[in-house]
């Protein structure tokens, strides 16, 4: 706020949802410590105060992968534990209330992609995150549902975590282990490389868990809402959206790709107060 010719003028400065970054760091470090401690514990050198659970035990997607086996036989898929089911339940509840906040606030693979994306933003400025042709991009966004169906099918048929061999999340926190397949490491490498051009490429095009949680965008309780009556139609919300959702073209964001990061809201990029909000109920 400053004064020009006797008038008080407020300059708009885009803000960031800094608390989201704090939460992302917390979960990244937590999972990293658990994963390292699991390796140490296997050789008898684990740190007692830390959990030495396996990465599978603290991954909520495992709870989704094992659902068929659990329903059909009352068993869990190998390497999956009850904790995965608990986490899957909590994350599903969070998603029904607030959309896929797990993707935008918790998932360490999403966090790492964002970190790689900072380099891309520096290199390509406004071109960053706009490399994929608009003709094919919407179609590619549905590929992750194909991945989801494939993962659920092969897991149900085999009773084993076959997806582990292709999972960049498993590779990220076990790259030092002989348990990681080269295919998973290659996919992790490709994801990080593509993140320099496209924001969250794995989340957008391939993540089966993101696809699963994305469905909750259709009926979630809290949604991103835009008040047309106060909207200046500057398109800032759409430009800022990491998932390229045209927020300025809708009143309520129901896009299956929304990750509830809040970067499009009036708390962050939107210059008009109470115009893009995260709320229940209707908007003007």
């Amino acid at each position: 706020m400053f004064t020009v010719f006797g008038k008080r003028i407020r300059l708009f400065r885009p803000r960031s949802i800094w608390v989201r970054r704090v939460v992302q760091w917390v979960f990244f470090l937590l999972i990293a410590f658990i994963s390292v401690n699991h390796t140490l514990a296997e050789s008898g050198a684990g740190i007692p105060v830390l959990s030495s659970a396996s990465l599978h035990a603290v991954c909520p997607f495992g709870g989704v992968e094992t659902l068929y086996t659990f329903a059909a036989d009352g068993l869990l898929v190998r390497k999956i534990h009850d904790s995965s089911l608990v986490l899957a339940g909590i994350v599903l509840l969070l998603s029904i209330l607030f959309g896929p906040v797990f993707c935008g606030w918790v998932c360490p693979l999403g966090t790492v992609q964002e970190w790689a994306g900072k380099l891309g933003k520096r290199l390509f400025k406004r071109r960053y995150n706009h490399f994929v042709p608009a003709r094919i991009d919407p179609v590619l966004r549905y590929v992750r549902y194909g991945v989801l169906v494939w993962v659920l099918y092969i897991t149900a048929m085999s009773g084993t975590l076959i997806f582990e061999s292709y999972d960049p999340y498993f590779a990220l926190f076990n790259f030092w282990s002989t348990e990681v397949a080269w295919s998973a490491l290659a996919i992790l490498g490709a994801t990080l490389l593509l993140s320099v051009f496209v924001e969250r490429p794995w989340c957008k095009y391939a993540c089966p868990y993101g696809a699963f949680l994305g469905i909750t965008n259709l009926f979630r309780v809290f949604s991103i809402k835009r008040a047309e009556s106060t909207c200046k139609a500057d398109g800032a919300c759409s430009i800022m959206c990491p998932m390229n959702i045209p927020v300025d073209a809708v009143k309520v964001v129901r896009d299956h790709q929304c990750i509830s990061c809040l970067e499009c809201t009036s708390e962050a990029i939107c210059p008009v107060a109470k115009t893009v909000v995260f709320s229940t109920g209707g908007v003007k």
Partner: protein
């Protein structure tokens, strides 16, 4: 109702961490398996542990806790020995046999345990390999079906491939898995010869039991110890057993 980032952050943290704490207090939060395989739910084997549910994190000791097979037999079958074979984790097998070119791992142990204990196990459409030492023990039991014998003939790794040149697991040493090169280089029955060795050399269970006049004890037990425990003279058993060994290993 409108939410901003800080309350949302708090809700996410509280629901995730609080949910874990709550489930933990309810006993739902388990991050390790019980090391006990699931049991058959119906049929002739209802209530018995299912070999198909053996997992890579199990040790030979864990398996012995659920199935009628000792850690020593498993160690001998898979060419692993050491001071404490019961602590050997079966997921280590793949590394031991890595250079063999054949996948010997958790599935191999499941197959071995199923055939050894006579429990059902589905092998259709699966390529599960066993080392020669494991196959020899199974064949010596003498109660496999023709289909099972056929499967073993097809999926036993060729003679000559051993684990001997491979890195041992922690505290354990791999043994040769080739039955033509057993732990004792000669096929002679001595004081330290175990019943497991007799089986692996090809002497059938029935013949052994016929000679000792009793059900075969733990395969890890030496013939001499068995004789002492039963008040028998080892030297009366040894020639008969040696004769049978000579028949199968001339």
């Amino acid at each position: 109702m409108t939410l901003t980032s800080k309350p949302l952050a708090l809700i996410v943290l509280v629901m995730l961490l609080g949910g874990i704490a709550f489930s933990s207090s309810m006993g739902w939060w388990t991050t390790e398996s019980s090391k006990q395989p699931a049991t058959f739910e119906e049929g002739e084997f209802a209530g018995q542990a299912n070999p198909a549910d053996i997992r890579g994190s199990y040790t030979f000791g864990d398996i012995a806790g659920s199935f009628a097979v000792t850690p020593e037999v498993l160690a001998q079958a898979f060419g692993v020995t050491g001071e404490d074979s019961s602590a050997f984790a079966i997921k280590e097998l793949e590394a031991i046999y890595l250079e063999s070119g054949y996948e010997i791992g958790t599935a191999s142990v499941r197959l071995f345990v199923a055939y050894y204990t006579g429990l059902p196990f589905e092998t259709a459409d699966q390529d599960i390999y066993l080392p020669r030492s494991a196959t020899d023990i199974l064949l010596s039991l003498g109660d496999l079906t023709p289909e099972q014998i056929g499967y073993l003939e097809k999926y036993t790794i060729p003679t000559g491939i051993t684990a001997a040149t491979l890195e041992p697991a922690v505290g354990l040493s791999p043994l040769p898995v080739d039955s033509s090169a057993p732990a004792s280089t000669e096929y002679s029955v001595k004081g330290k010869t175990t019943f497991g060795e007799l089986l692996s050399w090809g002497v059938s269970l029935e013949i052994i039991e016929g000679i000792i006049g009793a059900p075969m004890p733990d395969p890890a037990m030496t013939v001499k110890d068995f004789a002492s425990a039963g008040g028998l003279d080892f030297e009366t058993l040894r020639p008969a057993l040696q004769m049978e060994v000579d028949k199968v290993k001339p």
